[in-house]
């Protein structure tokens, strides 16, 4: 059988992923995460009497800490599996990716295990995050000048 013909046969027997449902779940949970972040930010700003820009930092640290902690407790992977991009895209997903890799390789040495593998998943986020930040920053500078 030719490869293209076989591909058709495979497609015929491959179930469709429920993209709308998955998207809705991710939208709702991602939105909830955003609201939670905003709530934390406002609370920090209000109770500690600090500027919101500083409160943002506290909020991020809190969410990262909670993400890492839940990963270590072993149930965050089940949440991620359910919420999908709703939990992967926010900062919790980044923390979770690093923490899960660190847990996985903890028995293979500090340097050769944890150090070498912690960024296995998160490394490309950093690389392309930096590259795109640079690119878009440059575009903004060229278009709008120094604000």
């Amino acid at each position: 059988m030719e490869k293209t013909k076989y591909k058709d046969l495979v497609n015929k027997h491959t179930p469709k992923e429920n993209r709308l449902y998955n998207g809705m779940i991710a939208f709702i949970i991602g939105g909830f995460m955003g609201a939670l972040g905003e709530l934390l930010r406002q609370l920090y700003a209000y109770f500690f009497d600090i500027p919101t820009s500083e409160a943002t930092m506290f909020m991020i640290i809190t969410l990262i800490f909670i993400g890492c902690l839940f990963t270590c407790f072993g149930f965050f992977d089940k949440w991620v599996n359910f919420a999908k991009c709703g939990l992967i895209i926010p900062i919790t997903g980044f923390a979770h990716a690093m923490m899960s890799a660190a847990l996985e390789y903890r028995k293979e040495g500090m340097v050769t295990g944890i150090g070498a593998n912690m960024f296995k998943l998160a490394g490309s986020v950093i690389i392309f995050g930096v590259v795109s930040a640079y690119t878009f920053g440059l575009i903004r500078l060229l278009l709008g000048g120094i604000a």
């Binding site: 490869k3 027997h13 599996n81 890799a101 996985e104 296995k120």
Partner: protein, 329 residues
């Protein structure tokens, strides 16, 4: 390439299985099961190695022999450098040959062992195989605790180890013939759809086996493929019909038998080198001994998946080996 055997028997088998298999429909057929993925070992990889040792120990006690009575130990698994098998072999101390054909390793081992027993090069041998869900996830996919979402066509690597003891001592289960498969690649690159990758290899081997032995498909009471999963099973049925004009009767797939897909989070079913032998050595051989099946054809299917090559945009080659087992009086 098909071999016929006159004098090779499976005298005993042993199966040990992990926490998910323990909750599956075949739970009462395994010799031992484990409640967790570590089995009192430090890491998943060491746990997998321990499972092979345990299954060989159970097998030795079943046949009443010690490791010094065994001529050859054939074993394979999914880990890099077939590490689980090598470390188990290092502790067992039986002359060892490591084999690897991904999830077709079990039947590959049986074929090599059966040929050597048939030709009287060895008196007996143990063919073992193992896989460990978390160790495989770690090596081939994402960290276990990451829990990345997967499509419905993904399969769930079984945790367990299965061993078989082959010799020329006549007993109920006879190894009748075997067919060594060729590598087939129809261009599928989706690592989450191994059923589609392996179905053409299974079809090719089944067709060649029937052609070489001049048998009809109805000759077998049961044809079992290794780990195609529910979608791969449907693909194989249709592919077999359109490509070879053979309608698969009395057919099932071990991936669909080992778990309860309704209740367990296993996507399209089981996979891994241990999937086919865990079902066959426990449940199926049990049925054969009760004469519910007289002749079966076990077609273990393996996706020769290398993450490196897939990242280099190459498609995944697949292989299937077949072995035919018969009940004799």
């Amino acid at each position: 390439m098909t071999f016929r055997y006159n004098n090779v028997y499976i005298n005993a088998t042993s199966t040990v299985a992990g926490p998910y298999e323990q909750k599956g429909p075949l739970k009462n057929y395994y010799d031992a099961t484990y409640d967790d993925f570590y089995i009192n070992m430090d890491t998943f990889e060491q746990a997998e190695s321990k499972m092979i040792e345990d299954s060989v120990d159970i097998l030795l006690s079943k046949i009443g022999k010690t490791k010094f009575d065994i001529d050859l130990f054939l074993s394979g698994d999914l880990l890099n450098q077939i590490a689980s098998s090598s470390y188990a072999a290092s502790r067992l101390g039986i002359p060892f040959m490591g084999v690897y054909n991904a999830c077709a390793t079990s039947v590959e081992g049986l074929i090599i062992g059966a040929n050597m027993v048939e030709n009287k090069q060895i008196k007996n041998c143990i063919c073992a195989v193992s896989s460990h869900n978390n160790a495989a996830e770690k090596q081939f996919r994402y960290p276990v605790e990451y829990g990345g979402p997967k499509p419905k066509t993904a399969t769930f690597t079984t945790t367990g180890s299965a061993s078989a003891y082959l010799s020329s001592n006549k007993e109920q289960i006879k190894v009748d013939s075997s067919t060594v498969g060729s590598v087939v690649d129809l261009g599928i690159k989706d690592v989450y759809h191994m059923g589609a990758v392996m179905a053409p290899a299974a079809a090719d081997t089944i067709f060649k086996h029937l052609r070489d032995t001049k048998r009809e498909i109805g000759y077998y009471d049961l044809i079992l493929t290794g780990d195609l999963g529910v979608y791969g099973r449907d693909i194989l049925k249709e592919y077999m019909k359109t490509e070879y004009g053979i309608e698969l009767k009395n057919y099932n797939d071990t991936a669909c038998m080992i778990y309860d897909r309704e209740k367990q989070p296993v996507y399209a079913g089981g996979s891994g080198p241990a999937c086919a032998p865990l079902v066959t050595y426990s449940y199926i051989l049990n049925k054969m001994k009760k004469k519910e099946y007289h002749r079966i054809l076990l077609v273990a299917t393996g996706a020769l998946h290398s993450p490196t090559m897939v990242n280099q945009k190459l498609s995944i080659p697949a292989i299937a080996h077949a072995i035919s087992l018969e009940v004799v009086e």
